[in-house]
């Protein structure tokens, strides 16, 4: 199972990095998206996979009877998901503005600083 997930993570990273090196601005953003998926899954997998229950205490119980999934990586990833959404949105707006100001969406044409 872990090997399978490792392959998924590797694919996401490969795809994300490859897209970030393309010339279209939009592809750069999509690449960023794939990369953050990969990163979240990386934290999740590295934190240990447990198919046990969620870290939520059942009604009326005071202690966990069996060891549930690790809550710490989950808390980390939850915030990471929301943050990467905000980052994607910000990048999108930035690129939109760049396109409107410079008149091109080709990364290779954005070499000059004073355009």
């Amino acid at each position: 199972m872990e090997v399978l997930l490792a392959i998924v993570i590797g694919t996401l990273y490969t795809g994300g990095l490859y897209l970030m090196m393309r010339r279209n601005l939009i592809q750069l953003i999509i690449g960023l998206g794939l990369l953050s998926h990969g990163a979240n899954l990386l934290i999740f997998t590295a934190g240990g996979l447990r198919q046990g229950g969620a870290p939520i205490l059942a009604e009326g119980e005071k202690m966990f009877a069996t060891v549930p999934a690790d809550p710490l990586p989950q808390a980390l990833i939850l915030t990471a998901i929301v943050i990467s959404f905000a980052v994607t949105a910000f990048a999108l707006v930035l690129f939109l503005r760049t396109y409107q100001a410079v008149g091109t969406d080709d990364v290779d044409e954005l070499k000059e600083t004073d355009t």
């Binding site: 872990e2 795809g15 990095l17 490859y18 090196m21 205490l57 989950q74 939850l78 930035l94 990364v107």
Partner: protein, 763 residues
């Protein structure tokens, strides 16, 4: 002491303001500050002479054991007296030298700031405090050498002095850290008591070498001596103060200070004596061929610094006494000569001694001072230079070769003394050389110091006991008695002294021949350390330009490439060094539903990359996100699954909204570029994959998670542990995170509004 330092720095900040208010008397007014320091130091004299020391300290950064510790003992007192005493005179002298100069305030500021830093160096009792002040002196020296910042040569000389001394400072810092580790303390007063421990330590030799490099660069020892003659681009008051009597002696001070801790071993003797003698001789040799006043003095200063290091290297009680006495004598006569030279150049506009002459009528005052100092430098009776030279020759009694060298170099000192003290004033005045006497403010300094050279000789016994003895005792770390005499009886050392003067006079007779030889030798300069410095500097610049052209192409894609490649290489290297792949254990079995999701995600990812349509591309990215959500569900993370689902949908909507304003994909890369990028991306992906597999072997400590699981309900009344972590245990982190969200949204909204505003302006 702390108050004194603060006052000095405060005075430095105020200097430009004082100059603006009272431009005519700014120097005199500001000279009161070092004068006050001098007076305070004199009051401590009896106590320090009895072997006591004044200490002061307060906690600076407690957690780091950083203590702002100051200590005044015999050695510190000798240097502090010179710094504040000469400082007073120099600042006063500046008033005349820079009369009417609009930047005088700036010069005063730098000079006083330097003085405060230098006092800090000799008073510091904590290695790091010493280091900070040490660097501050390098820094103020840079500002002073480059004072005429419109002069290209001055700028490059300033940079050279800065680079050499600061680079040395880095070595020094490394040495200090090792020393503190070896002795377990940062306090100088404790380190000097642990000499035996330190010398037995395996790091002793590295420490010694590092500290020596720091001290040698600062004190212009061979092969780092080249910056000092170049530093003569500084205005003369700065040269007289920093580059002859005080800053360049910081290295000497440090070595003297650490002598009880590091000295007395064979290595210490070998390094210091060799380098000291080499500097001693080379400085003298180079001085012979010079005719520019200040360079002449600068090379003789290099030589004198070499002599001090040599005497420290010998390290006998006699040598240490001689060194302490010589520091005093040298500071007095060299500062005087510099100030006189500054006066001559100031009044005549001439820098070369060979175009000067017959000034004795026009500048009788300068002539007197120059003669006083020149004679002291030559070691003539009855001057303090003579007294110091007697002790020095005495100390070298067992080293015939060094004795010979001292006589030879001493003769060149006589030569320099006559050349600066006599030559410009004697004979016929060349045609067209106009001169008049220097103003009062420029007379006081040389007069006081010149007369000092004379009077101190008559009070040699008292000076020896009150100032030289405590200093020497601090260097040797034992009680010793210093007896300085003006008249030590008729012995072989007196004869040598007379012989030195005689040879010096003979050298002066043959000066034209020497100058020619010197000019011929100057050709060898391109093999010297100065040339090496220039070569290294220009190579560094060339390398920087080359790598900038190579890496900083301005194309975003290239930056990403380099970043990915570097990270991949570093991670891979760390991975291999850690022993590579250990094999897989504890794998959980593959279930069908997870395998299906995984295959779906891989396919969607590939399609995202491959698709030529924007919409298909983002939709399949959304599919990857839904796959993530499913995985989260399978592995007990319902919160994540829900969030991921909503976020993914919203991302797709946002991207689709933006697409209406963006063109379709249209810029393709060549096959070759795509191939390279793919190879780089696959490399990155594979490394990450291996990293994940390697991470499985690491037993993650779960103490934190367990704590949360256990206490979530007990303390925080929450059953959903993930939520409790977010809003209770780690609420502060979440607060930071929602702040980041707010900033991102405001930034995006501002960016869009900005454009709308622009359009309105246009229409």
């Amino acid at each position: 002491m702390f108050t004194l330092l603060i006052t000095c720095f405060f005075a430095a900040v105020l200097a430009p303001w004082v100059h603006r208010r009272v431009p005519k008397y700014a120097g005199a007014l500001l000279a009161l500050v070092p004068a006050a320091v001098f007076a305070w130091l004199i009051r401590q004299l009896p106590m320090v002479a009895h072997g006591h020391s004044v200490e002061q300290s307060f906690q600076w950064v407690e957690g780091l054991g950083l203590e702002f510790a100051l200590r005044l003992d015999g050695l510190g007192l000798l240097f502090a007296l010179l710094i504040s005493g000469i400082g007073t005179l120099i600042i006063f002298y500046t008033q005349g030298y820079f009369k009417g100069h609009p930047q005088q305030g700036r010069f005063l500021m730098y000079t006083i700031a330097f003085m405060a830093s230098m006092l800090g160096v000799v008073l510091a009792n904590h290695l790091l405090v010493l280091f900070i002040f040490w660097e501050l002196t390098s820094f103020t020296s840079y500002l002073l050498i480059g004072f005429n910042h419109e002069d290209e040569a001055a700028r490059s000389a300033a940079l050279q002095a800065m680079l050499v001394t600061v680079l040395g400072g880095l070595f020094l810092l490394a040495g200090m850290i090792l020393m503190a580790q070896a002795t377990g303390t940062w306090k100088l007063s404790e380190i000097v008591q642990r000499g035996a421990e330190l010398q037995a330590h395996p790091h002793y030799l590295p420490i010694l070498i590092l500290i020596c490099i720091g001290a040698f660069t600062k004190s212009a020892q061979f092969p780092f001596h080249f910056w000092l003659p170049n530093a003569m681009h500084a205005p003369t008051p700065a040269s007289a103060y920093l580059h002859s009597s005080t800053m360049v002696k910081a290295g000497i001070y440090l070595l003297a200070r650490l002598h009880p801790a590091l000295g007395g071993t064979g290595e210490w003797g070998a390094i210091l004596t060799t380098i000291g003698v080499a500097t001693f001789l080379i400085g003298a040799l180079m001085a012979i061929g010079q005719s520019v006043l200040k360079r002449l003095l600068a090379y003789s200063t290099v030589s004198a610094l070499g002599a001090m290091v040599m005497l420290l290297g010998i390290g006998t009680s006699g040598a240490i006494q001689a060194m302490a006495a010589f520091v005093l004598a040298h500071a007095l006569y060299k500062a005087t000569l510099f100030m006189v030279a500054g006066g001559i150049t100031h009044e005549t506009g001439e820098t070369s001694v060979d175009r000067l002459g017959g000034l004795r009528k026009a500048m009788p005052f300068s002539f007197t001072c120059a003669m006083l100092a020149g004679l002291s430098m030559g070691g003539v009776m009855p001057f303090f230079g003579f007294v110091a030279k007697e002790v020095w020759l005495h100390a070298l009694g067992d080293y015939p070769l060094l004795l010979l060298a001292t006589v030879a170099v001493g003769a060149t000192y006589v030569l320099v003394g006559i050349t600066v003290g006599w030559k410009p004033f004697a004979g016929q005045r060349p045609d067209g050389l106009h001169a008049h006497a220097v103003p009062i403010s420029m007379r006081i300094g040389p007069l006081v110091l010149g007369l000092g050279s004379l009077f101190l000789a008559f009070f040699a016994g008292w000076i020896g006991h009150a100032i030289v003895e405590p200093a020497a005792a601090a260097i040797a770390a034992k009680d010793l008695e210093v007896h300085l005499h003006l008249w030590a009886g008729f012995n072989k050392y007196l004869l040598m002294g007379i012989g030195t003067v005689a040879i010096g006079l003979a050298l002066y007779r043959t000066r034209p021949v020497l100058l020619k030889t010197g000019a011929r030798l100057a050709g060898f300069a391109r093999f010297g350390p100065d040339a090496a410095y220039r070569l290294i500097l220009s190579s560094v610049l060339k390398f920087a330009a080359w790598q900038t052209r190579l890496l900083q192409t301005g194309t975003l894609r290239h930056y990403i490439r380099y970043a990915v490649l570097t990270t991949t290489a570093l991670v891979a290297a760390a991975f291999i060094r850690a022993g590579g792949f250990q094999g897989l254990e504890n794998l959980s079995p593959i279930s069908t539903r997870i395998a299906l999701v995984a295959v779906l995600m891989i396919a969607a990812a590939i399609f995202t990359v491959h698709s030529n349509s924007r919409l298909r591309s983002i939709l399949s990215m959304g599919l990857v996100g839904y796959g993530m959500a499913m995985l989260f569900t399978f592995f007990g993370a319902p919160d994540l699954a829900m969030t991921q689902l909503v976020i993914e949908t919203l991302t797709v909507i946002l991207l689709a909204l933006a697409f209406s304003h963006l063109p379709p994909f249209r810029h393709g890369s060549s096959m070759r570029t795509r191939g390279t990028d793919l190879a780089i991306a696959v490399g990155g992906g594979v490394v990450v994959m291996l990293l994940v597999l390697a991470a499985l072997d690491v037993q993650t400590p779960t103490a934190v998670s367990d704590y949360y699981l256990e206490h979530s309900y007990k303390y925080a009344h929450g059953r959903n542990v993930v939520n409790v972590i977010l809003v209770d245990f780690r609420a502060l982190d979440t607060l930071g995170e929602i702040t980041v969200l707010t900033i991102a949204a405001l930034g995006a909204s501002a960016l869009l509004k900005l454009r709308q505003g622009k359009q309105e302006d246009k229409s």
